[in-house]
């Protein structure tokens, strides 16, 4: 009986030994040479696989970084500056200085500002609502409120506010990967510069209808009056298709346009409250 056990152990032991030797030589002969830097970079990347860099996942990003040998034109939007610095060190490169950005929802058509005149009862997806009808309100450009952007966000940075029916971006969590931008069928969300102290000024409307039509649909719609264009000293505002747009590269955050706008459709975010009570309501926003 004991000899049987012994035979089994010896046979298995010898087989294992032979296979180990074979495997050792095979692994030497057919070894895939992988740049250790790819592994290193992949390890320090956030690993969300969000696709914000334009590559299918973090591993592909790491591989392409090493292939290029530099960080030129490559950026992981989810990684902090520190991580990018580390990646640059691994590659022996310097980090390209880019302005940090944040997603901005350019629609302020809350239930109060933009009354619902219809009921949409199809599948709860903005893409479908956009394709099938003009939406529940009179505005055919504004937020549909089904939350495609919330679903697209891999960082839990967008939430629907049930009171306003609009999505809200958590500026601390937002990595500006741009997934919400491409998820929105109406191109409402835009990546804008974060600026100092996270201060931002933007036209919170994308309605291209003529003034009276837009105004009828929404109390805070841009009517394309052009007052902001005249008020701006830095030529940062352009008016096209009855809609004003503020170029965030040119904007100096002076807030002149905010005061001028008769529709209160230009929002100033994260500014300290002004003493003048007239503009109070513009400053208060959760964006």
């Amino acid at each position: 009986m004991s000899s049987m056990i012994l035979t089994a152990v010896i046979v298995l032991g010898i087989t294992g030994l032979i296979l180990a030797v074979v495997l050792f030589f095979i692994s030497k002969k057919f070894a895939v040479e992988e740049d250790p830097r790819v592994v290193q970079i992949n390890e320090i990347l956030p690993g969300a696989n969000c696709g914000g860099c334009g590559y299918p996942g973090c591993a592909a990003f790491a591989e392409n970084c090493v292939k290029k040998g530099s960080l030129k034109g490559m950026r992981c939007s989810a990684a902090s500056g520190e991580v990018m610095q580390q990646i640059a060190e691994i590659l022996g490169d310097v980090v390209e200085q880019t302005t940090p950005k944040v997603a901005v929802v350019r629609c302020n058509g809350s239930c109060e500002n933009r009354p619902r005149i219809n009921v949409y009862d199809g599948a709860s997806r903005c893409a479908i609502a956009h394709m099938m009808s003009g939406g529940e309100t009179g505005c055919a450009f504004g937020c549909l409120g089904c939350g495609d952007c919330v679903e697209a966000c891999k960082f839990d940075a967008i939430r629907m506010n049930p009171e306003t029916g609009l999505p809200e971006v958590d500026q601390d969590k937002c990595t500006a990967c741009g997934m919400c931008v491409s998820a929105c069928p109406r191109n409402i969300i835009e990546l804008r510069n974060k600026n100092k102290l996270d201060r931002r000024i933007f036209v919170s409307c994308v309605n291209k209808d003529k003034g009276p039509v837009a105004k009828k649909a929404c109390a805070v719609a841009c009517i394309g009056c052009g007052k902001c264009v005249k008020a701006c000293q830095f030529e940062a505002i352009t008016l096209e298709n009855n809609l004003a747009y503020i170029d965030f590269e040119k904007c100096r955050l002076c807030r002149k346009c905010v005061d001028e706008c008769p529709q209160h459709s230009i929002l100033a975010v994260n500014f300290p409250e002004r003493k003048k009570p007239a503009v109070e309501e513009n400053v208060q926003t959760n964006q």
Binding site: G122, I128, G134
Partner: protein, 447 residues
């Protein structure tokens, strides 16, 4: 062999609710202002050829075709062009449109307004097609495919038969039914004109058996006409779908896209289109009015109306006794394939076959539940697709798989959604997926 003819795969039979089948066609009065959206058909939008202040008559061309796959638009009223602006059309979005303020009712002198039947047609096929093109005729079944394009099939397809779609499989709608009862002679002449234009001599008129009076009447009319045959079909939705009708009538199956009905040698035309062809070719009357069924279970005075295009739908509703209080949904077209309207100011266009006011009990969708794998949608699909799978591909954004599962064959008839016991919005998802995959295929082809 006594089986009634119909298509073989799938299909449903919703309640017919043909409330207006016995109501004769009445003429609706003129509107104060008529609005003509520039994209009323499949293809490129039309290009306006009038400007603000121009005077137009009934039948005056107001917009040119925007390409080969496009159609001209004629004014249905006489008066002055008020502006060329935008209007919210049935899609819910603002589209360019021509506004005309109505003054009197002056018709173009070239139009033959007499009731006499003109049987003789001495034109060549090319001349007939040119006349149809100039009259702005599009498929009046609802899809609005330019008719002249259909009459010029690709050269490699040999056409041998014409199928006239007179099934009107949508519940509620009776516009085609009434047309057949009141203008059978014109329809028969129209069929002969189309046969001449196509250079063939075999036509079938497919009618569902729920319209026995129309079948009998047309049968007696075509008895003396060679090559034209009335085919009685079993009542089943969506028999009015081009591919379903071809199978029901001729037994031929159209292969999946990009194959066309012409690939199996058939051209299909709606019976309303045939009547419009008769009027255009024999009476010089362009397409500027159509029959619209205005109906609904609680509507006071449901009717079949002859409406000038451009008339706001609100006026049609007014004729029918106003919108009932319990209306939950206003639909342009039938309940299966129609579009819910955002407001009643939308004008009647070439594709408006009906105005339907559904009460709450019929209109409100029930709460969506999980798929229970009952495969009712698969059994109902007349194209032999798997709607639950296509919808799931859409939910997961798996466009590649959806394309492999033949999403582009979907005819968006809605059989799947109406048969789903879990009330899943299958058609919504399938439409989205089809839209996306269509875009991907188009961009791939242009590369």
């Amino acid at each position: 062999m006594n089986m009634k003819k119909t298509f073989t795969i799938g299909g449903v039979h919703p309640d017919e609710n043909k409330l207006t089948a016995t109501k004769p066609i009445c003429e609706l009065g003129l509107p104060k202002q008529a609005v003509y959206p520039l994209s009323q058909h499949i293809g490129a939008p039309s290009v306006p050829c009038v400007a603000k202040g121009d005077l137009v008559n009934v039948g005056t061309k107001i917009a040119d075709a925007g390409g080969f796959m496009s159609a001209v638009i004629h004014s249905g009223v006489s008066g002055k062009v008020a502006k060329v602006d935008t209007v919210v059309d049935a899609s819910g979005y603002r589209k360019p449109a021509i506004y005309i303020d109505v003054v009197d009712d002056v018709w173009e002198p070239t139009i033959d307004r007499s009731e006499d039947l003109v049987k003789e047609c001495n034109l060549t096929p090319e001349e007939i097609i040119a006349k149809i093109k100039d009259a702005g005729i599009v498929g009046l079944g609802g899809a609005c495919f330019p008719t002249h394009v259909k009459l010029m099939p690709p050269k490699d397809c040999k056409i041998d038969s014409l199928v006239i779609n007179a099934v009107e499989c949508e519940p509620y709608l009776t516009a085609d039914h009434r047309l057949m009862l009141e203008h059978p002679d014109e329809i028969v002449v129209g069929v002969q004109i189309l046969l001449k234009a196509l250079g063939i001599n075999k036509a079938f008129i497919g009618i569902e058996e729920n319209k026995p009076d129309a079948i009998e009447l047309l049968q007696s009319k075509v008895a003396s006409v060679q090559g034209v045959e009335v085919v009685k079909l079993k009542t089943k939705y969506p028999q009015g779908g081009e591919k379903q009708l071809i199978e029901a009538v001729t037994g031929r199956q159209v292969p999946p896209p990009p194959a066309l009905p012409a690939s199996v040698g058939v051209v299909v035309q709606n019976v309303g289109t045939v009547y419009a062809v008769y009027q255009a070719v024999q009476k010089n009357k362009p397409l500027f009015e159509r029959i619209v069924t205005v109906t609904g279970k609680s509507v006071q005075n449901p009717a079949n109306l002859l409406v000038r295009m451009g008339t706001p739908i609100s006026q049609v509703i007014e004729y029918a006794g106003g919108m009932p209080e319990d209306t939950a949904k206003l639909i342009s077209g039938g309940p299966m394939m129609g579009r819910p309207l955002l407001n009643a100011d939308v004008p009647v266009v070439k594709g408006t076959s009906g105005v339907l006011m559904l009460p709450e009990a019929d209109a409100i969708r029930k709460e969506e539940q999980h798929c229970i794998r009952c495969s009712k949608c698969v059994q109902a699909c007349p194209m032999g697709l798997e709607p639950y799978l296509l919808a799931t591909c859409g939910e997961l954004s798996d466009w590649e798989r959806a394309e492999q599962e033949w999403i582009m064959s979907c005819i968006e008839c809605g059989c799947c959604q109406s048969s789903c016991p879990s009330h899943r919005p299958l058609l919504d998802w399938v439409r989205l997926t089809k839209n996306k995959v269509g875009g991907i295929i188009r961009s791939r082809n242009t590369k």
